[in-house]
């Protein structure tokens, strides 16, 4: 690591006591006289607290949503809830914007002068929106749903190409980081940090300290999987990781400043379970806790002295750091022994009163943060669970057949129970964690077609023992992902549904089918249009609907088959009559197969070379000189390591693709009303595995006599 940073565990927030609302946002005022005022939002209230900890301001917004983010500039208050963004001036409504999808993060950016702040919203439907009053100035499309947003005062624009633009950094749920240079009328995308290692979503971004002394502030990102990176922007506009580390729990917030001393700035983060941890460059991060009264342990007076020490004796800082750590350990040990005594006292008091263990367990429900996300590249789902207390076991139950996959970073031991069909449980499994673990990722493959539910029961390792259950719905078209644009060049099939249904009905049907949709139609609209991509096959789906009519267009017939089935059932349930016209095309089958073909060809060629490799290497070992081999075989030998690597990464891939084409063929036969000759399947499989077969041959087979 090029940058040396020292970790320092600072304080612990205790769990939120019952009866009070959780604080959802905490900021400093942005106005000149407000910089030392703290503003917090809890529920739908906003409070102001001054330096002495006295509440000097309280405002009830009367909103129905919980405020997720608040910003204060002089008399202006901006608040962002789940779908609504408000602007108040002196407590009066100034503007309101109802967002078409969930607001994940919000900021205010001085786009039109230092006192003219405009709200910027990062929304789940993959847009960053700039607001002016109640209007959207423009929407900037994002590559994935943005989940964090940070306005950076000092732009990362080394060439000063856009002096007027304001920089906003956003992190996405797929783990990438994007720079957006915003101007009042347009936005430009700057650098992008890709995520090749598939790390977690970027949950917090901070840029305010120049650790590397390059003249540009470093960018610090914190992820949902607990990893932290410090990035440096190079001359060429490339991002370089200069420091990275990993914590055991997700990072909720990041900031920076002079924290433990006045010598060096450090960045500080807040984790899911309430830990506050700082990272400081050499010279900082020394907790010398001989707090003089009133100094609050900042050790400011020591600052000057220490500096001279550090210059004179290079080992001195290390000594001091060690002492600081030791002191910290002592302090923690002391705290723990005090806590143990308190707990012992509580326990005996509890036992004396004949306490209610159930009540005890229920009174401290630990928080569990969970997320069930589609992993688009692998077409599988990852359920990540994070608990405030160590996990003993997570028990998984589903009424769908889930294929549990291995997650390398997991240390938990998977144990599958046999499916229990009489109780409708097709998947039952437990994950047992051994060491103190607060996080668990459960990865699984699931087939499209039927709606299913998934429950995870989290059993804690420490007492009192309560169990928290989290549930997720797996939608019939769960492997579909929202995209912005439809590729119009593809041959498609169409499913048209008409009838006397309202736009709300059809929206409810579609949200029951597909992930990633807002629960209600955007206000004032009678219909909507969404485009999806099948992450497994790359096929697309267009849904366009309004009251009385719904049109579904896809290049894959089986997708439409699933939609048809689902809507018919839903309509019958709500006693609505619908008419269906269905129009499959043979061309689309051809197209779908052609889409998968290159992958299949590559995979089976890879398998072939891999199988050959061993033999070739033996020849090489025996003969030494292998110049008599053909060019092809020699290159195989040269690329041996690479081939092995590739093969190792995706051993199941070929079988998977073969199964896919078989399914496609069966679906096509079913939906176009052909009685399926199952006896042709073995021949089809052979054809698919045979490395010499061509796409034409396959097509001939698929469309040939049945």
């Amino acid at each position: 690591m090029e940058l040396e940073l020292f970790r320092q565990d600072l304080i612990q927030t205790s769990t939120c006591s019952a009866g009070t609302l959780a604080v959802t946002s905490l900021v400093l005022g942005k106005g000149k006289s407000q910089r030392d005022k703290i503003f917090v939002a809890a529920g739908n209230q906003i409070k102001g607290v001054n330096k002495k900890g006295k509440e000097f301001f309280r405002f009830n917004t009367q909103l129905t949503e919980t405020i997720r983010r608040v910003d204060i500039f002089e008399k202006n208050i901006w608040s962002a809830g789940e779908y609504v963004h408000n602007h108040f001036i002196e407590g009066k409504d100034k503007a309101l914007y109802l967002c078409p999808d969930r607001i994940n993060a919000a900021e205010v950016v001085p786009l039109a002068g230092p006192t003219e702040l405009w709200p910027v919203l990062a929304c789940q439907d993959r847009y960053v929106r700039l607001l002016r009053g109640s209007e959207v100035c423009y929407e900037a499309p994002t590559p994935a749903a943005p989940v964090s947003l940070q306005y950076v005062v000092e732009s990362h624009d080394p060439q000063h190409r856009f002096p007027d633009a304001k920089e906003v950094l956003y992190g996405t749920d797929t783990g990438s980081l994007v720079q957006l240079l915003m101007e009042p009328n347009s936005a430009r995308q700057g650098f992008v940090l890709p995520n090749p290692k598939k790390l977690g979503a970027v949950s917090a971004v901070y840029s305010g300290i120049d650790f590397t002394k390059t003249g540009l502030n470093n960018i610090v990102i914190g992820r949902e999987d607990g990893s932290i990176e410090v990035l440096d922007l190079e001359e060429g506009g490339q991002l370089r990781t200069v420091f990275s580390t990993k914590l055991t729990e997700s990072i909720n917030a990041l900031d920076g400043g002079f924290l433990t001393g006045l010598l060096a700035q450090e960045f500080v983060l807040h984790t899911f379970s309430g830990k506050v941890i700082s990272f400081a460059p050499p010279g900082g991060g020394l907790l010398v806790s001989n707090p003089e009264p009133g100094r609050g342990g900042l050790g400011g007076a020591l600052g000057g002295q220490r500096k001279s020490h550090a210059v004179a004796l290079p080992g001195a800082e290390e000594e001091e750091r060690r002492a600081s750590y030791l002191k910290q350990i002592d302090r923690l040990r002391a705290d723990i022994s005090v806590l143990k005594q308190e707990i012992e006292a509580e326990r005996s008091r509890f036992a004396q009163r004949g306490g209610d263990t159930a009540l005890l367990a229920m009174s401290a429900p630990f928080t569990v943060q969970d997320k069930c996300k589609l992993e688009a590249d692998e077409a599988c789902y990852v359920l990540s669970i994070e608990s405030a207390v160590p996990i003993f076991t997570v028990a998984i139950q589903s009424n769908a057949q889930l294929q549990m996959l291995d997650v390398p970073s997991n240390v938990a031991i998977l144990s599958r129970s046999p499916p229990d069909e009489t109780n409708g449980n097709l998947t039952l499994a437990t994950y047992r964690c051994q060491d103190s673990t607060n996080r668990l990722a459960v990865k699984f493959k699931v087939r499209e077609g039927r709606a299913a539910s998934l429950s995870a029961f989290v059993l804690p390792a420490i007492s009192p023992k309560a169990c928290v259950c989290v549930r997720h719905t797996i939608r019939p078209l769960c492997l579909h992902q929202r995209i912005q644009q439809m590729d119009t060049s593809r041959p498609t099939n169409e499913l048209l549904i008409t009838g006397s249904f309202a736009s709300g009905d059809v929206h409810a049907w579609v949200t029951g089918l597909l992930p990633d949709l807002p629960p209600t139609l955007p206000p004032g609209q009678d219909g909507a249009s969404y485009v999806f991509q099948n992450t497994l096959l790359g096929t697309q789906l267009l849904c366009r609907y309004r009251g009385g009519e719904a049109r579904f267009v896809s290049d894959l017939v089986s997708t439409l088959g699933i939609i048809h089935e689902h809507i018919m059932r839903e309509a019958t349930n709500s006693k609505l009559r619908v008419n269906v016209s269905f129009n499959p095309s043979a061309q689309s089958l051809q197209h779908s197969v052609a889409l998968v073909w290159p992958q299949l060809e590559r995979q089976r060629a890879l398998k072939k070379t891999y199988m050959m490799l061993e033999g070739l290497q033996e020849l090489k070992m025996q003969d030494g000189d292998v110049s008599y081999l053909t060019e092809e075989y020699r290159t195989v030998l040269d690329r041996a390591d690479k081939i092995r690597q590739e093969y190792k990464e995706q051993p199941q891939h070929l079988d998977h693709l073969v199964a896919l084409i078989k399914d496609l063929y069966l679906d096509f036969c079913k939906l176009s009303g052909v009685s399926t000759p199952k006896q042709r399947l073995p021949a089809l499989e052979q054809l698919l595995h045979d490395t010499s077969s061509s796409l034409e041959q396959l097509m001939e087979f698929l469309l040939g006599q049945r």
């Binding site: 830990k275 750590y325 030791l326 923690l332 209610d356 291995d406 031991i413 429950s455 059993l459």
Partner: protein, 592 residues
């Protein structure tokens, strides 16, 4: 002084037998153990200054041999991958299911399980503290060094491929031993013990990260304590505020009772759980237990939660296991559940249902032996090992009990009658294995060190006779085929000489002729070889059965009687005295 090297092999081919050879190749030691031998090690487990032989076999047991006597058996949860002596009476073990652990004498000190499988274990003092660690190599390429006393990881490394073996040797000839870890794809890494004086800088840095880790760990611990403390204070507050969501709460005196019941229809024994009141229902149960599930746990999630729940258990073999049960209990509409933690011991013969006398025909085979014990003691044994509530049927002076094994529907009868101051016990079952299991367990329960018995298993002996015949036949075939093979290979040699002579004389026609003949002969040889190979496999299979029979016969006895059966059988087989062999198996004794 003559040097005696004894080589000990556990042959997979001559399965079940352990053999010892001395340096001149003569056999010094022969015994049988429970099943295929998969791991062996020497370790001085009883600290008497002489090494014992530890043998891990596929029936999940480690047997500790002193000479031919088994002095102890240690049951584990799966097949063994390896055993390794660590230091003194300590030895490490590795199982197929990914568990590694360490025993001190016969007590397990620690164990850990991983989702990966372990490939090799060894021991060496890598951290330089004077005590050897247990080193393990894994299928994902991980190499771990764990402290022998706590199991704590002191060092970790990763190879790019699964580990094939871990060795220690002075590989560089510099007078210092290294630990060498080899991967299956040819990667080899050597490790030197950490010498604190050589690299102070490194040590200092390690020291530093350790402190950071210590702080983080303490912080975590503190947080957990604060959580517990907060739950107490929250509860006090809630008690004042009267909770609003009483729906998810269950009455404070709720208990969960558990017992094991036989379910004859499903051929299983059910773990039945029941809450003590109507308002709390069981939402689900997670049961952890070794050897009774396909994997380590069973999760039961009823569609309609009720106040009671039956978890069907079908142990694949007769083992006594402790079940760790987590019961999720809540109100009928709850989303949060209280976790009740229970432990229950599943009796060793839980899958045997008690039946009335005469309900099933009595098995024709039996094993009979006498013990100087009182009948009530035997009744107590039956009650503790079988899933019986009531006192065993029968009068005070005799014990008579009948069971049906739900696994294979085989009947079992236990009868004990006082005869001349002793109690004569008869176990009626057609299975030698079941009989052996019962005898072993009873002997352990009564603390018997020696027990001889009479075994009458006509059906099994008849089958055994056939096996012995098969061995003879295969042996004869083998000898005949060997002779044929020798002839054929001589013919081949001659043909090669003739062909080469013809080539030197440039008589191409003759050469071609000879080579053609050689090719034909070669083809014949290959065909012959296939036959021989098939015969060989069949022979080995039969031999395995013979060894298994000896083992079964031995298990009907305990202690010295047991060892005598093994040696006597071995001698009888060597002398090809089948009549004696049969008698030994029946009587437990015979001419040696």
């Amino acid at each position: 002084m003559p040097c005696r090297v004894v080589l000990v092999t556990g042959l997979r081919a001559a399965v079940l037998t352990g053999k010892g050879y001395s340096s001149d190749g003569s056999e010094k030691f022969w015994t049988v153990t429970g099943d295929n031998v998969s791991a062996m090690a020497f370790c001085d487990v009883d600290q008497d200054g002489r090494n014992e032989l530890l043998v891990g076999s596929d029936d999940f047991d480690v047997r500790i041999f002193v000479g031919e006597d088994v002095i102890a058996e240690v049951p584990e949860a799966d097949q063994f991958v390896a055993l390794a002596a660590v230091v003194g009476p300590r030895f490490g073990y590795a199982l197929v299911n990914g568990t590694i652990g360490l025993y001190d004498r016969l007590e397990r000190v620690w164990r850990v399980k991983s989702k990966h499988s372990v490939c090799a274990i060894a021991s060496y003092d890598l951290d330089g503290d004077g005590l050897p660690e247990l080193i393990s190599g894994w299928s994902n390429g991980r190499m771990e060094v764990r402290r022998a006393d706590t199991g704590e990881v002191v060092y970790r490394d990763h190879l790019s491929c699964p580990v094939a073996a871990i060795l220690r040797a002075d590989y560089r000839n510099d007078g210092m031993e290294q630990v060498v870890v080899c991967g299956v794809e040819g990667e080899v890494r050597g490790y030197l013990p950490l010498d604190l004086e050589v690299a102070p800088g490194v040590a200092a840095e390690v020291d530093f990260s350790e402190q950071q880790a210590a702080v983080a760990e303490l912080a975590q611990r503190k947080q957990e304590l604060m959580y517990e403390l907060a739950s107490y204070s929250n509860m006090r507050q809630q008690a004042r505020d009267t909770p609003t969501d009483r729906g998810s709460l269950i009455p404070s005196d709720t208990r969960v009772d558990s017992y094991i019941a036989i379910n004859k229809e499903a051929a299983s024994c059910d773990l039945v759980l029941r809450t003590s009141n109507d308002s709390s229902v069981i939402r689900g149960v997670v049961v952890f237990g070794e050897q009774i599930f396909d994997e380590e746990s069973l999760f039961v999630y009823p569609k309609n939660p009720d106040t009671s729940l039956a978890v069907p258990l079908k142990p694949l073999k007769d083992v006594s296991v402790v079940l760790m049960i987590k019961v999720l209990v809540g109100g009928r509409t709850a989303t949060m559940f209280h976790v009740f933690e229970l432990e229950i011991e599943l009796p060793k013969f839980a899958l045997y249902a008690a039946v009335d006398k005469g309900a099933f025909p009595e098995p024709a085979s039996s094993v009979t032996f006498s013990v100087s014990e009182r009948i009530p003691r035997l009744c107590a044994w039956v009650e503790s090992r079988f899933n019986l509530k009531a006192t065993t049927a029968g009068r005070n002076d005799t014990l008579e009990a009948y069971f049906l094994c739900l696994r294979d529907k085989a009947p079992l009868g236990i009868k004990a009658v006082p005869v001349a101051g002793q109690v004569q016990v008869t176990l009626r079952t057609d299975s030698l294995d079941t009989a052996g299991e019962l005898v072993g367990d009873l002997a352990a329960y009564l603390g018997l060190t020696d027990l001889s018995s009479t075994a009458d298993f006509p059906a099994a002996m008849k089958a055994f006779g056939e096996v012995l015949n098969a061995v003879d036949e295969h042996n004869i075939t083998r000898l005949r085929m060997n002779a044929d093979m020798a002839d054929a290979s001589n013919a081949a040699k001659q043909l090669i000489i003739k062909a080469e002579d013809a080539r030197i004389l440039a008589d191409m026609k003759a050469m071609r002729k000879y080579y053609r003949q050689l090719a034909d002969l070669n083809r014949d040889l290959i065909v012959e070889h296939d036959k021989r190979a098939t015969n060989h496999v069949a022979l080995l299979e039969s031999l395995r059965e013979v060894n298994q029979m000896i083992q079964r016969a031995a298990r009907l006895r305990v202690g010295a009687s047991k060892a005598k059966v093994v040696t006597a059988c071995r001698a009888a087989i060597k002398n090809n005295n089948m009549a004696a062999l049969f008698r030994i198996i029946r009587e437990g004794d015979g001419p040696v």
